[in-house]
Symmetry: C2
Subunit: 194 residues, 2 copies
């Protein structure tokens, strides 16, 4: 293959979930696409890098400093929802059911992948606990997410805080017959009176 | 989602095989990656667009005009291998078993997708037939590839040319038990004395 194509393919191979074949397809897409399309792509990349920053308080992405949520007076400043990353924040915002603040951990404890507590955005969390009444831990219900939730609850338990964890159970539209055992145990443990 | 992120996600959604979720992951990858990484990506895109051109003779990609293969005196100038696209050319080159010229069709006849003979690089093929003794049609053994091969053989048959088609059969390491019927019929039809 020609040198500039190899360089371009290598650059695309760094994209998440992209292997050699798909990176090559991307490189050929670049070759085939029109000049204005390419200018759009490049300016979209440059724009995003220049205009979007991590909020110094909650670490979510925003064009404002602090972000729209942290600087919104209408939001409940007594509760912080801890999420693994910005996309989880977006998913919760989409429900419209949560009106508190957020804190983006930027990952999850995963010693095997070399992610320890110091690699997560935890120090900033400790700094912003004044006036907070509840911490809602919304890390994913995976091994790493659960371990992170336990770790956070341990370092926070000395403070006068209500610490909560999002509910686990059968997803809406799900099927008890096909649910795995752990999910079913969680659903039974978490049963509520109706 | 924030405006520059939406614009970037839309740009990535135009990449082949990329949907909303994967495009979002790419956009976040861009946000998270370092400035030098982004400069590398952008210069790789610009470099590829600026330095790589389609060869005016065979339409394969190259930094040279005409391309390395068309301008190579050591190659057999009496045979042209017709391929659907540049990646097929690369695959055949990798075998080291073919030493003739190529002609890249830039696609394959597919009326349902709006690809007709005028959309393919066929006119340039007709122009370069002087001195050619054999045309090896190496379009894929799909419905569209076969139809394109038949079409090409019909428009070329009035000329004094040997027209050949790559062999179809059981792939190396394949299993007769699991081969589909059409492949098996092709393998039987194409049997050779040993």
């Amino acid at each position: 293959m020609i040198k500039p194509l190899i360089t371009l393919t290598e650059a695309f191979k760094r994209f998440p979930g992209i292997g050699q074949k798909q990176a090559e397809r991307f490189a050929f897409y670049i070759l085939k696409s029109s000049e204005p399309d390419m200018e759009n792509l490049i300016s979209a990349i440059e724009d995003a890098k220049r205009r979007i920053k991590a909020c110094p308080i909650c670490c979510s992405y925003s064009e404002k400093t602090p972000c729209e949520i942290c600087s919104d007076d209408k939001r409940d400043k007594h509760i912080i929802c801890i999420v693994e990353n910005y996309t989880d924040l977006l998913a919760i915002e989409k429900t419209g059911k949560y009106n508190g603040l957020y804190h983006v951990l930027m990952g999850v404890l995963s010693p095997l992948d070399g992610v320890h507590q110091d690699n997560l955005n935890i120090k900033n969390l400790i700094k912003r606990l004044d006036g907070i009444k509840e911490i809602l831990i919304a890390t994913n219900p995976t091994v790493e997410g659960d371990a992170t939730a336990i770790y956070l609850s341990q370092i926070l338990k000395s403070r006068e805080l209500k610490i909560t964890r999002i509910a686990k159970g059968i997803p809406s539209g799900g099927n008890i017959e096909y649910a795995d055992e752990i999910t079913l145990v969680n659903a039974l443990d978490g049963r509520k009176e109706i």
